[in-house]
């Protein structure tokens, strides 16, 4: 049954239909793969019994011919999505004992479609980090570590999601992306991930980090699988006031069209940053060539405010986080440091309950929102955000999609990046699309000189995931990426 774990969702669906194996056999194979990879530390909470129970329900629907679109498909859930009755920690000590009594809309959509939950995978604490190292429960290890015999970071924040798919220990995983948290780990772990347009997936029941940026999306091996997962995860939700009241197109139909005639692909010159390694530049150029071969027009474009995107993000995201994380006060749920005075209870609970990076961002956020600095920092960043959006609007008058590298480097060693600002630089190519609410996808496209995965990013117009997926499936088809499993 070991060959099961190297298959895609579409292949498993086919096999289940032909009775090559049962939903239970599929689930068992992925449970075994998770158990044999314990040292990679995928799970904060592994829900084996629940998975077996859900697999039996799936199989009974398959047997009676009433199967749903994801019946028999075992997936992992980022530990940022509230799951009713299952521990949901955001990889933080402060939520270390939190058991939600409600289900997030996105995960509910997946269970309604028949998907099977393997467990809750690790991430950076409250999704704040690009390496998984801010998790209270220890970082997930990148399955590609074995290639160079060093412990590599899976990226972050959805590092557990990307790692578990890469290792062939889940067919798909949910991720969330605020500034690159789906795309960067997907690139580091050699898998595919899409952050859809802001508003496409409901944020209800996802532990909030920065509400004007947070978006859910899938991480899978292939573009087709991401499209299928996104079909299920998307949709209008009255419980999220920013959820887009739009129909979900059939994203799977957008994939697999290998004629890109009349499609215009923008190459932003500002993404050619100084110090970028030649292997990234070469991969990017190879990407242009692949799309050109399929008939696309390659056009150089300019996004002049690109270099201000990261500083803008590091005002807006911490500001929103400082407000969102005010709810963790040791009173209603989670960890409490008991004290005789209420103010001491708050201050000590939050000092013990949050890790250093989360505290740093809450302090930055509080500072930029405080009297005297609000206009100079927060308002200023919101204005620059507008200029970044206008840059994209201008470019999207001339092109259909934008092609960039996903990250400025391949995965780095655990513990090798200690300085916060150099850690923030990991998201230099992913943050601009986040600030503009655009759909963006990372596709594994090649290997670095030492054999580690590299990704290309496709950015699309708002609510035009279809062109993003179309281009992504062309890159996938030409890259013939050597998946780990």
């Amino acid at each position: 049954m070991s060959e099961i774990v190297s298959k895609t969702i579409l292949q498993i669906k086919e096999g289940l239909k032909k009775r090559d194996y049962s939903a239970l056999e599929v689930t068992d194979a992925f449970i075994s793969a998770s158990e044999s990879n314990k040292k990679l530390n995928f799970y904060n909470t592994f829900t084996k019994e629940k998975a077996i129970e859900m697999a039996k329900t799936s199989q009974s629907r398959i047997d009676s011919g009433e199967d749903k679109i994801l019946d028999g498909i075992p997936i992992a859930i980022k530990d940022l999505f509230c799951t009713e009755g299952t521990l949901t920690t955001a990889s933080s000590k402060i939520l270390g004992n939190f058991i939600p009594n409600y289900e997030s809309t996105v995960t509910q959509n997946l269970w309604d479609a028949g998907a099977i939950m393997l467990g809750k995978v690790g991430c950076d604490e409250f999704a704040m980090g690009s390496s998984n190292e801010t998790s209270f429960f220890g970082e997930v290890i990148n399955p590609w570590s074995k290639v160079i015999n060093k412990n590599l970071s899976p990226g972050g924040s959805s590092g557990g999601s990307a790692a578990v798919v890469s290792a062939g220990a889940a067919l798909a995983a949910t991720g969330t992306d605020t500034g690159g948290s789906i795309r960067q780990p997907a690139a580091f772990c050699g898998v595919t991930g899409i952050k859809p347009t802001y508003g496409r997936c409901s944020r209800w029941g996802i532990i909030a980090f920065a509400s004007s940026l947070d978006q859910a999306g899938p991480i899978t091996k292939t573009v087709n699988d991401s499209a299928l997962m996104l079909n299920v995860m998307s949709g209008f939700d009255p419980k999220d006031s920013t959820s887009a009241n739009k129909n979900t197109p059939d994203f799977l139909k957008a994939c697999g069209n290998f004629n890109l005639k009349n499609l215009k692909v923008g190459i932003p010159k500002e993404y050619q940053i100084s110090g970028m390694s030649s292997e990234i530049i070469n991969l990017w150029e190879t990407g242009h060539g692949w799309l050109k071969d399929r008939g696309a027009d390659i056009i150089e474009v300019s996004l002049p405010h690109t270099k201000y995107a990261l500083p803008t993000y590091y005002v807006i995201a911490p500001a929103e986080a400082s407000s969102n994380l005010a709810r963790y006060d040791g009173v209603k749920y989670g960890y409490r440091n008991s004290q005789n005075h209420l103010d001491d209870l708050y201050a000590n609970t939050r000092a013990d309950g949050f890790g250093n990076e989360v505290k740093r961002r809450i302090l930055i956020g509080t500072y930029v929102l405080s009297a005297g600095y609000y206009d100079a920092y927060y308002r200023k960043a919101q204005r620059v955000r507008n200029l970044i959006i206008q840059d994209f609007n201008k470019v999207f008058k001339d092109v259909d999609v934008i092609l960039t590298p996903t990250t400025p480097s391949a995965a780095f060693e655990v513990g090798s990046q200690q300085d916060p600002i150099s850690m923030y630089m990991n998201d230099v190519f992913t943050v601009p699309a986040s600030l503009a609410g655009l759909p963006a996808m990372s596709v594994p496209s090649g290997l670095s000189t030492n054999g580690l995965p590299l990704g290309l990013q496709i950015i699309g117009k708002q609510f035009d995931e279809e062109n993003v997926l179309k281009v992504a499936s062309n890159i996938e088809d030409q890259a013939k990426f050597p998946f780990l499993n």
């Binding site: 006060d329 005075h341 740093r360 930055i364 405080s370």
Partner: protein, 95 residues
């Protein structure tokens, strides 16, 4: 923009995060480095540019003002660190 220990103290109080005195110096240096990097935003000409929070332009929908949820305080209190008689318990606030 220099961030001194007093500023860190003030901000940590606003954020209700206790910082030990011996950490103030270190944290002020860290915040100063990040804010110094953020200060590059001041080079951008933004006069006449509107601040943006809503990127898709969708209007906030309104719903009918009626109760749609609730009636399960027991379930909600299940996660409370301390509860009594259907209430969250905190240290005495009024003497």
């Amino acid at each position: 923009m220099p961030i001194d220990k007093d500023t860190v103290s003030k901000v940590s109080n606003l954020a209700r995060i206790k910082i030990d005195n011996n950490q103030l110096e270190k944290i002020s240096k860290e915040l100063e480095a990040v804010m110094g990097w953020i200060d590059s935003l001041s080079e951008v000409e933004t006069s006449g540019i509107e601040p943006v929070a809503n990127v898709t332009g969708q209007k906030l929908p309104l719903r009918e003002d009626k109760v749609t949820d609730g009636g399960y305080s027991d379930k909600i209190l299940n996660n409370a660190p301390e509860k009594e008689g259907g209430f969250f318990v905190v240290p005495k606030v009024i003497e």
